[in-house]
Symmetry: C2
Subunit: 422 residues, 2 copies
Amino acid sequence: MDEPELTAEANAETARRMCEAEPTLVDVRAAADVVPGMTAATILTSGAPLRWEEYTGGQRDGIIGAAQFEGLAGSADEAVAALDSGEITVASCQDHSCIGSLAGIYTASMPVFVVDDARSGTRAFCNLFEGPLPKRLNYGMYDEEVRETLLFLERSIMPPLAEAVRRSGGIPLRPIIRRALNMGDELHSRNTAATLLFTRELFGPLLDLESSDPAGVRRVLDYIRSGDYFFLRLAMAAAKATADAAHGVPHSSVVTSMAFNCRDYAIRVGGLGDEWFRGPLPSVEQVKLFDGHTRDEIEFMGGESTITETVGLGGMAQAAAFPLVDYQGGSTEEMADRNRSMYEIAVAEHPEFRIPFLNFRGVPVGIDVRRVTETGITPAIDIAVAGKGGGQIGAGAFRAPLACFEAAARAHLELRQEVPQA
Amino acid sequence: MDEPELTAEANAETARRMCEAEPTLVDVRAAADVVPGMTAATILTSGAPLRWEEYTGGQRDGIIGAAQFEGLAGSADEAVAALDSGEITVASCQDHSCIGSLAGIYTASMPVFVVDDARSGTRAFCNLFEGPLPKRLNYGMYDEEVRETLLFLERSIMPPLAEAVRRSGGIPLRPIIRRALNMGDELHSRNTAATLLFTRELFGPLLDLESSDPAGVRRVLDYIRSGDYFFLRLAMAAAKATADAAHGVPHSSVVTSMAFNCRDYAIRVGGLGDEWFRGPLPSVEQVKLFDGHTRDEIEFMGGESTITETVGLGGMAQAAAFPLVDYQGGSTEEMADRNRSMYEIAVAEHPEFRIPFLNFRGVPVGIDVRRVTETGITPAIDIAVAGKGGGQIGAGAFRAPLACFEAAARAHLELRQEVPQA
């Protein structure tokens, strides 16, 4: 078999693994108890790793806030000192099987969803949606109110939620994602249907809990109902478990991770080990800002929810989620055209995750860095927009930068040339 | 004001009432307790009224089955005798504020949803989904199994469901319909999201019931989860309350009801009193039959779920429900085109019920019989298909017959000519 064939076969295998994953929510636990390598003095944040001093703006603020929240420092100044000295370690979410929303801040005490892919044995984690308040740690803000919310999640939500999940015997996420794609979600910027479907799965176990913890049951339901984004964290954990299951096929030129920090966008490729191929931050294709905000306020403070696009959801499945036109702006015709173009850079179509508008065509799965480079078409990504002052200021359709894919394609080509001919 | 202006103003008022209705589920009761004019010996069935002997096929079988179910006759022969003698009365659902699904069979003991429009004071009723079994009374089948299902609804579902609805203080249906239109439902042949949204509204009251009736709470949840069509009956009752609120504006040429029995399709018009304008049965535009069935098996045994189209849902909002392409066949392009054409026969667009794919254009509301006649475009209707042997054999997009609209337009014109000029 020659190298082009090896790559084609490796890519097919990578996509096959993505298509076959069966992520299941099995538990909700404190990060310290389950996340590999998590210590009391570790803070995880989004994107390819940077040195602590390279983090700026909201992402830096989030890390400093996390140190205070976790009791590792009594003030922001003390936090900076401890971070400068290395007493507090900053690490990359994905190196700990976690996946970060926006700044993606994890500390040891925070509750995380535990999602297992039964087929491959991968396990991934995502922390919980902080709720609909504009001030959130993952948007680079920390104060008493943010602290109260985080403590509420840990003390009041985690125990009954975890109990309900355990009593359920595990909640399969694949069927929820499959159905939600038929109900206006693309599982990144829109998770309305998935949140409802998940809630229904949880209702039986919650009923069983009613007699022992009636207040806890109502808190959990109120929390899940507080926004339509509850499921996003589960979609992200499911996508991370799925992408990790697909990573590591030799010769594969398919993307298995996309993430950004405050400085750069980066991708990993299935056959190219753990190297991050970096490029500039994503470009705005279409953005809609909340009233009173302007484009010059947009700040990138990290984000790994693009793991959803990595497995064929989000911007790769925009035509499943026309309601987004109200949230992101643009037109549904543009969304449909953008979605159709994504098939040009993907190596497969999902057999179960389908887009009704495209007459139930499967979502495009497996972004091939070579095809991106050849066509110049980069993945469309649906992301929430953070503002320089912290907090969310809007949402939009963005594009991953070509440079990452070019760098990865070059590395893939070099590796190919090293392969002895069979 | 001259007559064309009077009609235009009347039509705007009719559509305005349709757009403003706020139907709310307030109770679940036995038909005998709440339906006006309902007696122990009354059977209600779908469509403009016929003489008993004119009912044929599945609709006749349904009526006969209903007499047995209600204990009005010990056998089918006895039922026929009692119907022939007039001992048992057959009446039209809509003359009793009810709305019939398929054959639309109502007897005194059957539970019905009670839906009030708070703005206009109208009240409408719809009986309960019999569940996903192919054998159902409203599909013209009656045997011991059907009887058991109906008794289960009456004895095991109605009490806890009614209690939960009463504890809720009333469940507003307008917000559920509004959201479901953004989640792939058109509220006629697809009610998946609406069923979920309704279920979530019921969670709180069901939790409160858990301590007193744990088994009842689980039965209700299992029943609602047994299919994705639970909400259809609520959509129908909501549409009936809405259409009735809009009926009776003098000079209006807007349709306020569409229904069919086993022989004819018929419409009522806002300014033309209670007269039914009849035409032939609907024509098949696009149909998809379950495996093993053929077109020559299709039987019309009545149906009033076209009340949803009357208020701008169902076939009038197909582009909100592309997943239907899997259920009804055809293509999403055809659905979008068909939906766009419906604006040519409607007098208004709903301010809150919007179609994401059409960049959130409001659904077309208020079918003007004059526009239908002028354009030759008749309302698209999404209907389930019954088979000659009873039971559902498929679903499709049908068309209302032009003749009804022509007859109504003529009657409207005659009435205009009688109006003295101001």
